[in-house]
């Protein structure tokens, strides 16, 4: 399973897909994020308290502008919270320096974006191994092979993003996100730019990652059908989680 790192002591609990353990992998307490635009303050998160458990696949839904992306950025350590607490695998992100959050992202978080965000100059193979390089443990051929096979990328590794379909690009992005074994995958509308068929493929892969590898996943989506791939759905409105109970 996941290797504990020296920098962030891991909870080290054995995880099983779908099984709830006492310790959440991610926990927020009264989380606020306020953007300042000149003199105007825009509160994007207004006291969000959630818990995500190891092995869970959680969907987040809500209207545009309700703060979903902001929440993903804050819990993934890309942005600093204004107040409240974010505990990721036992580490409080809100008290961390910028470089400590960078290390945390490197070791514990895998992002997937709506726009794929692959590096256009690198082929698929290097887009994926780049993550391993940044991670710092060097190239792990075994892990790479497992991930590439799982995502059905073996035949497309020599292609640049411009030579891949949207679905293929998102699969490469997914491979990049999980190749260095993150504690949690945060996906911001991963199917938002895909046609139905590719969307289904990507969602199926996310479910497979969750079931086969026990990968914890938080996924934002607009689409109720997509949201149904998760174990439960968090509904957001105006910067608040209004309903987090719906479990499938």
């Amino acid at each position: 399973m996941l290797k504990p790192t020296r920098i962030f002591p891991s909870s080290n609990s054995p995880t099983l897909a779908g099984e709830r353990l006492l310790e959440p992998i991610l926990q927020t307490e009264n989380l606020w994020k306020v953007y300042r635009q000149g003199k105007v303050e825009v509160p994007a998160l207004r006291g969000v308290s959630i818990e995500i458990f190891p092995g869970e696949f959680v969907s987040i839904m809500g209207p545009s502008g309700c703060g979903k992306s902001t929440m993903l950025h804050v819990i993934g350590g890309l942005a600093q919270a204004t107040s409240g607490r974010v505990l990721l695998d036992g580490n409080d992100l809100t008290t961390m320096s910028d470089s400590a959050r960078t290390l945390l992202r490197r070791h514990k978080v895998g992002f997937v974006f709506q726009r794929f965000n692959l590096l256009p100059t690198l082929d698929a193979y290097h887009n994926i191994t780049l993550a391993q390089h940044i991670h710092g443990n060097g190239f792990d051929p075994h892990r790479f092979q497992v991930v590439a096979d799982l995502l059905g990328l073996s035949g497309r590794l020599k292609h640049k993003p411009s030579e891949l379909s949207g679905g293929e690009q998102q699969r490469v992005a997914l491979a990049r996100a999980i190749v260095s074994e993150p504690k949690i995958v945060l996906a911001d509308e991963p199917t938002g730019n895909l046609d139905t068929k590719s969307s289904e493929a990507v969602l199926g892969l996310l479910r497979q990652l969750n079931q086969d590898l026990g990968q914890t996943i938080v996924m934002i989506t607009h689409n109720p059908e997509a949201a149904a791939y998760g174990h439960r759905v968090l509904h957001m409105r105006d910067g608040e989680v209004v309903d987090g109970s719906s479990v499938h």
Binding site: L78, T102, R106, F113, T121, H126
Partner: protein, 365 residues
Amino acid sequence: MIRYMIVQNVLHRPLRTFITVLAVAVEVTLVIIVVGLTSGLLAESAKRIEGVGADIMVQPPSASVFMAFSGAPMPIAIADKLSQLEYVQAVAPVLLQFNSNGLEIIYGIDQESFLAVTGGFVFHEGHDLQGPNDILVDDVYARSKKIKLGQTLRLFDHDFHVVGIVEHGKGARLFVFLSTLQEMAGAHDKASVFFIKCDRTDHTPAVIDAIKQLLPRYEVRPLKDFISLMTSSNLPGLGAFINVMIGIAVVIGFLVIFLSMYTTIIERTREIGVLKSLGASKGYIVRIVLSETTLLCIGGAVAGVGLSYLMSAIFIKLFPTLTILITPLWVLRAGLIAIVGGLLGAAYPAWMASRKDPVEALAYE
């Protein structure tokens, strides 16, 4: 990994890469050619002065080793005193004039003593100076200016008659009678330099001591290691000129790299956001930018060295009297100057890239 990434980046925008590399190449070429031209000029004239075959050179007080730039001639009567010293075999007074038109030095010589010191000219064509308006030119000058024996050559508003073409290497490329040049320069009974031949080479230090006793403030130099004296550091103006030219080259390189990396980083804002989302540190991003800069600068330096040899070949073809000295030391220095200047130019863009906000960078269109 980083190496692969920067190579891909550089290949991704071939025109930008080409222009940047070209600018660095021009910078390197500028340094190599300016230094090569000045040191070539110096080395070449030093060689010619060594070629005079004298053991000692006496110049007026505080004169430069670069004789062409020294004024204030000495009374020619000193020659008589010098020739009476022990171990002195011959003394040749020479008056120098600088022909700013063709960047050439003219020697006014006393044929007999000059012959005694130098061992005489090797004639390709023609014969000794005979009339007051006669002139000897060396073979290089004759070839480059297409001068024929017997033709008229106009210098200092004076028509000279080319009576001989001699082998190069005897101090100057043009020789006229001392008296003629004295009259033209209004320097009657004056000389700019005395070349002294000792009876034996190992008597040189003794003779130098004797001359220093006789003429305390005069510049007395052995000609044995003359080339080592002829460096730009012995001529403050030239050293400054070289430094200014190098400075200009560095500024060009700095600005081009700055602009190139600055625009690159703006163009790649979103990619930087992606790297940050993957957990790349500031140091990692700085390393990518500086590695790419180093690659561009090394490319530019290599191209610049090639361009320097090409330019120098063209120069020599156009101006056969020029010498351009390209030394490994200066090739290396020019390359290092380009790389260091480039890294300085990339420092701010790299810093800017490293501290981009990841969320804003990811939202960049």
